[in-house]
Amino acid sequence: MKSPLLRKIILPLIVLVILGGFGWVVTQQGPMAPTQVTVAPVTRQAIAASIFGIGTVEARYSYRIGPTAAGRIKQVLVDVGDSVQAGQTLAVMEGVDLEARIQAAGLAAERASASIASATAQTKEAAARLSLAQREAQRQRELAAKALVSQSSSDTRQQDLAVTTAAVEASKAALEVANKEQQRLQAEQQVLRQQQANLVLTAPVAGMITTRDAEAGTTLVAGQPVLTLADPQSYWVKARIDQSQALGLRAGQAASITLRSAPQQALAGKLIRIEPISDSITEERIVGIAFTPVPAALSSGELAEVTLQTGQKAAVLVIPNAAIQQHDGQTGVWKLNGDNTLQFTPVQTGIQSLDGQVEILSGLQADDNIVVYTSKTLSATSKIKVVQQLAGVKP
């Protein structure tokens, strides 16, 4: 171990390696190391603004079919998933006492006819009596004028005439009452027949049964649905768009719809309704997007993602949104000057595309170099090292 070679070469070599390693560690690793950044130029290119929202597939027209009066279900003829025609019988309610009531109303109407006959007879009798009383009163008046009978007798006949006249009017009124009673009973019978017709629940339009809410034997109140019918051609997506992104929505815009069941497949759609009232709690606009065309076998309630193309700009200054930073309460980017120093430049941004490109309205020029990714928060005095890819990041 006393060889001079060892002392003269190996010892300094070891010292050099250790010191070199230490120097490298101190300057290139840890807190004193330069911050790694990636740099990209500001480019001039086209940018498309899009709006993204989520919604659910719903039937635009959905019919809840139920009885108009409280009652019990007799039969439900269709099941969920069945296609039905307009006017088809879907369910029947039980009449309970309706038939009996119609019968009673019929009998009452017949009785009213009898009353009319009796009233008519009475009218005739009264008319006959009136005619006799008129003649008798006339005769007595003439005889009284010749003083052949007493005045008292003539007055009695006059009174008879007045009484008989009144009796004729009374009998006419009674006939009128009997007629009206008959009409009333007929109308009542009509109502009951109508109610009987309402017991049959029919489809207002052609469509598909989506729910079956009650079974035979169930007693329902008026308005409670037995079945729900939806028109499959009216399926659309009711989507919710965040208010902060809702700028530029216009009816008629083309949309791309992705159903949760088929995330790889984009379906064509069209924005057909923008509701005038926003949801103030969730801060979202509600829009309706129709399928063009409506695909088969849609499921109501399915989650759908909607992307709307709202605008396009050609040849504007564009940067990646990852470059935008907050510094001292300002929004801007770190611009790389020619001498490798950093300068924070506040910018104004315009539209943003869904792939993360942002339009720059002011603050930057084309071909300015800006910092996109950084391994540490930057400051104007940061020591930086421009790299292609930050260390330790596998994208």
Binding site: M1, R7, L11, I14, I18, L19, G21, F22, V25, V26, Q29, G30, P31, M32, F52, G53, I54, V221, G223, Q224, P225, I241, D242, S244, Q245, I281, T282, E305, P320, N321, A322, I324, Q325, Q326, G329, T331, Q352, S353, L354, D355, G356, Y373, T374, S375, K376, T377, L378, L390, G392, V393, K394, P395
Partner: protein, 397 residues
């Protein structure tokens, strides 16, 4: 004048260097331990820095959202926004969960944020920021996700569109940032079985399922699955306004708890990680003591190993101070070699640690001073032993 220490080291340099390496590894462990402590504190602070907030508004009488759970209605922020001195106010949610990644569970903190508002992810290291209002996520690099991968949170898949760095919770769990509305739903979302059985339970309750009131049951069930709660409102104060004053105003008039950055730091650093920090601090002290003892023993045995040579030196009339200086130089030299190796290895193995290890230059300087001090003290015993040597031993033995 010839340096006795240099001569002595050169004489048995291999032994010296190997001892230095051993000591260096021990110093490396000590420095790493200090780095782990600093990393823990930094984890807590980075969470606060990343949120870009001046004031945290949380549920009254809680120390949320990091140290305690806190729940606020999500429209509170509008009232806060109306307070004087408030520039920005944004809802934010935090919850910790396990996510599946390549068949393994990864513990992450899911953050619900609003783009461009306080609480949004800071600078990225790859990819882009979230542009869609649903089902996109930015994840911390440490979570192990790659761009374009899907991450399942509760019932929905989120596409990773960007990666961030040093975005962790106080516990060091990597963060996953998702849009606020999704996070609100996910935070309180139950699994499908629980929802279905919940519906049945409600339907079985006669108070909610009344035949005479059609639609009541559906309304009750709908109200049970929506959530309009958030964990905190992050506030940025207008330039020129005092954050403490704004926080005091919010606390007084909105009947909520409001913390400034300093308050929050106190909670996050002093309270949340106090026990762990003490644990590591104590360990650091023990490690320093052990290192001191080991350095003393090494120097002492090295001195004893060359006791005959020292006796010869004494015999030829070398002064005591020269011998003492030689031993001190060797001791401090050993310390320096140990420090250089220790600092190097600590830096090299720091990234391998699962949690963040922050090696501050100040800590290194402090460590160097301590090592020099410890080596000086350690050499005292050896110097005493050397000075007590009888020159006669050189010839007598």
């Amino acid at each position: 004048m010839i340096s006795l220490a240099a001569r002595d080291i050169a004489h048995s340099w291999s032994k010296y260097v190997f001892t230095g390496v051993g000591l260096g590894l021990l110093i490396g462990v000590t420095l790493s331990m200090a780095g782990i402590y600093r990393g823990m504190v930094d984890d807590a602070q980075v969470l606060l820095r990343n949120s870009h907030a001046d004031v945290w508004v949380v549920q009254k009488d809680t120390q949320g959202p990091y140290a305690e759970s806190s729940s606020l209605p999500d429209d509170i922020y509008r009232g806060v926004l109306g307070m004087p001195g408030v520039e920005q106010a944004a809802n934010v949610t935090y919850f910790t969960m396990q996510v599946q990644h390549q068949g393994k569970d990864t513990r992450v903190m899911v953050v619900g944020f609003e783009p461009g508002q306080p609480g949004a992810p800071p600078s990225l290291v790859a990819g882009r920021h979230v542009t869609r209002s649903h089902y996109e996520a930015v994840a911390d690099v440490k979570a192990g996700f790659k761009l374009g991968e899907k991450i399942r949170i509760r019932r929905n898949d989120y596409t990773i569109v960007g990666l961030s760095q040093r975005t962790v919770s106080t516990g060091g769990d990597p963060m996953v940032f998702i849009p606020l509305a999704d996070a609100q739903a996910a935070q309180f979302q139950k699994d499908n079985d629980a929802i279905v059985s919940g519906r049945e339970r409600t339907a079985a309750n006669p108070a909610f399922n009344r035949p005479s009131v059609p639609g009541l049951l559906e309304a009750v069930q709908a109200s049970q699955i929506t959530s309009h709660n958030v964990n905190a409102v992050l506030v940025r104060v207008r330039p020129g306004w005092d954050a403490a004053q704004v926080a005091a105003d919010i606390q007084r008039w909105k009947h909520l708890q409001a913390y400034t950055y300093a308050d929050m730091e106190e909670i996050a650093v002093q309270k949340l990680i106090a026990t762990s920090a003490k644990q590591i601090g104590l360990f650091l002290v023990i490690l320093t003591l052990v290192s001191t003892a080991i350095v003393s023993f090494i120097i002492y045995t090295m001195t004893l190993g060359k006791i005959r040579e020292i006796a010869v030196l004494k015999l030829i009339g070398t002064r005591n101070s020269t011998i003492a200086w030689m031993i001190l130089q060797e001791s401090i030299g050993l310390g320096l070699v140990g420090f250089i190796i220790g600092k190097t290895v600590a830096t090299l193995w720091a990234p391998v640690f699962p949690k963040y290890v922050l090696l501050l230059p100040l800590d290194a300087v402090l460590g160097l001073l301590v090592i020099v001090l410890v080596c000086t003290l350690a050499s005292v015993m050896a110097i005493r032993a050397a000075l007590k040597v009888d020159p006669a031993e050189a010839i007598g033995g």
